[in-house]
């Protein structure tokens, strides 16, 4: 019967926690003395971040020649990393906005940290196009601002300009969405803490929140509106990233399915990253009652679905390349699979398509170790997907005379590592100072699935 019962609604929070328990369990880790493990992780992350900073400083001082890119393979490593990080961010918005619209109550345990992940990932992503300009101190030229150089404006026909708008808009709204979600919880922390400095800080940022129903009512409304706005936004961001490629005429890039394929891939990789982080967090911070196997299983299902879309998109591209009878198009795909970067293609197929198939089985979806391993594999696979798309098309375009190859230099690798350092540094700071789980929202769904009743909210 166990299997059958699983069709029915299960409690989202285990162990019969009370409202007070929720506050306690989530706020407690923030009030404890900083653990040695946290310090160890933090020092390693900052160390890696410093390596990245050193690499970027060296590159800015010396010039982009320190990277492995060349005239033909101009986008190389930077844009691979950019697309990778932007994709990671998308799961956060999906969990906080789209699942909210679909009334998926299980999201409440994971949305806070997923949103934080979004913000940090977008920050990591934003660095790459800026340093890729070569003269990052002129990056503000990307913004259309009134100037005295005669009529002079940015080129609104360029997808790179659309990117500038999409990324900055996405970052701003993700930040606002996250902050709005934090306000009630900051008030909870304000009312709990004994330290005066913390009380002042939490008090300042919670804007004097008092939990009044009038306030909650407008708050809920604005949350719904933001969710409704963030949903098309998140789709548009990766769509625009895909247009960076698709609106060109390069074989392998200029293909119409790219927008939905990129969006699905972004969600796919983002959920893998959420799982990687959450599985560590729930263990380290003892949040097993809040982030249950039910949550993990649901995220695995999303990965399976989006991974399926990605797989179908790969297949569609291959089929249409054959069907097109277009020599350039066909060569692009043969070269992907069998050319000099063929191993990266098979790496991508193996990690993204084959590895995901394990999630068809409930046993594996609920096995934490197994899910963790697969989630890391998918992260690797999705990085390779972007590498494959950029490298195979740029190294072999229309003119054999401009065929080239690319090998990352140590500076390229250090910059990539540095972005991971930045990401984990920020995430660790977040875990130390802010509630990892949305306290107010979890309280709203506490009764969900208990005695067969629905939640309150």
């Amino acid at each position: 019967m166990a299997e059958v019962l699983s069709l029915l609604r299960k409690p989202l929070v285990l162990d019969n926690k009370s409202y007070a328990d929720v506050t306690h369990d989530i706020a407690k880790p923030l009030e404890r003395k900083t653990s040695t493990a946290w310090w160890a992780a933090f020092i390693i992350s900052v160390g890696v971040l410093l390596i990245g900073i050193a690499a970027v400083v060296y590159q800015i001082v010396t010039g982009v020649g320190v990277w492995g890119l060349n005239n033909t393979v101009g986008w190389a490593f930077d844009i691979t990393n950019f697309v990778f990080w932007i994709g990671i961010g998308h799961a956060g918005t999906l969990i906080s906005a789209i699942l909210f619209l679909f009334r998926q109550k299980w999201r409440t345990s994971v949305n806070r940290s997923a949103e934080a992940m979004t913000i940090f990932a977008v920050m990591c992503a934003g660095i790459f196009p800026i340093i890729h300009t070569g003269r990052p101190w002129f990056a503000f030229w990307l913004v259309p601002y009134p100037n005295f150089r005669g009529p002079l404006w940015v080129n609104f026909r360029s997808p790179l300009e659309w990117d500038m708008f999409a990324i900055s808009c996405y970052f701003t709204i993700s930040l606002v969405f996250w902050y709005v979600g934090l306000i009630p919880d900051l008030a909870t922390l304000r009312d709990r803490t004994t330290s005066t400095i913390k009380q002042k800080l939490y008090g300042f940022f919670s804007l004097g929140w008092n939990g009044s129903n009038r306030t909650w009512h407008r708050y809920e409304k604005v949350y719904l509106l933001l969710a409704g706005l963030a949903t098309p936004l998140v789709v548009s961001v990766h769509t625009i990233v895909s247009w960076d490629f698709a609106t060109s005429v390069i074989p392998g890039w200029h293909t119409t399915i790219l927008p939905p394929y990129f969006v699905a891939g972004a969600v796919f990789s983002g959920f893998a990253m959420v799982l990687t982080l959450m599985l560590i967090v729930r263990k380290v911070m003892s949040l097993e009652a809040y982030i249950t196997t039910h949550h993990i299983e649901n995220m695995c299902k999303v990965i399976l679905a989006t991974g399926g879309i990605v797989g179908l998109a790969y297949a569609t591209e291959l089929f249409v390349a054959y069907y097109s009878a277009n020599g350039y198009e066909q060569f692009a795909f043969i070269n992907r699979a069998l050319g000099p970067y063929g191993w990266t293609y098979w790496m991508m197929v193996g990690c993204n398509i084959l590895a995901t198939q394990f999630f068809w089985f409930k046993k594996l979806r609920t096995n934490v170790i197994w899910v963790f391993i697969i989630s890391v594999i998918i992260n690797v696979g999705m990085w390779f997907e972007r590498f494959v798309i950029i490298m195979t098309s740029l190294t072999r375009d229309y003119l054999p005379a401009s065929w080239a190859s690319f090998t990352p230099t140590i500076i390229d690798l250090a910059t990539l590592a540095g972005s991971f350092g930045l990401f984990f540094t920020l995430f660790l700071l977040f875990a130390r100072f802010l509630p990892m789980v949305a306290i107010g929202e979890v309280k709203g769904v506490l009764n969900y699935g208990r005695n067969g009743k629905g939640g309150h909210a």
């Binding site: 409202y19 506050t23 708008f165 939990g211 009512h217 409304k221």
Partner: protein, 194 residues
């Protein structure tokens, strides 16, 4: 300080409950009793409570829609003005009015303006930031963000009468009933006046 109505000498009366069902029932009773100027304070949003308290539904969506439309029109025509009028440039042989390629930025600005409208509208309408509020004078009120549920009937309500309202609140069987003082009584600079 108002010149027309004498300000009540307290802000209101507050009752504390320990379960969401109880405050919901209490709010419904209070509404039946004829109270309007009241508010509930809860650790998490309770949609049903809004109706029980008789709070008007927010008109925020309409404002957000206007902001979004403004962002859309501004976004599109700004690009049109830049690319066709102020700085016409032949790019890849495309027409000056390359409207398909302006849709992405137009879209982003629509979303951005709407979101700003929504958040600023919410914060403004909620009167936030508001670090000082009479309800914070209640000793146990810090539990409103933890696990207790408070119902406050304000003294400005025409039906409010310190004794009768107190009796009424008692009939709801709360855990505590507290008098909520005005903000200034706790303000050190004004304490001498009292």
């Amino acid at each position: 300080m108002t010149f027309f109505v004498k300000r009540p000498d307290i802000y209101g009366l507050m009752a504390e409950f320990d379960a969401p069902e109880k405050i919901l029932a209490a709010a419904e009773r209070a509404k039946q009793e004829g109270y309007h100027d009241m508010d509930a304070f809860t650790p998490f949003p309770m949609e049903e409570l809004t109706d029980a308290l008789g709070i008007r539904h927010s008109k925020l969506s309409l404002f957000v829609l206007c902001c979004g439309l403004f962002g859309m029109l501004f976004g599109f025509f700004f690009q049109y003005w830049v690319s066709v009028i102020d700085y016409p440039l032949n790019i890849g042989g495309r027409p000056l009015n390359s409207w398909p390629q302006w849709i992405p930025v137009t879209f982003e600005l629509t979303i951005l303006f709407s979101a700003f409208g929504a958040v600023i509208g919410m914060i403004f309408r909620n009167g936030l930031p508001r670090p000082v509020h009479p309800v914070f004078n209640v000793d146990r009120f810090e539990l409103a963000t933890k696990d207790k549920f408070f119902l406050c009937i304000e003294a400005v309500d025409p039906k409010f009468d310190k004794e009768k309202t107190r009796k009424f609140l008692e009939s709801l069987k709360p855990d505590y009933i507290t008098v909520v003082d005005h903000v200034h009584t706790k303000d050190p600079y004004h304490q001498d006046d009292e």
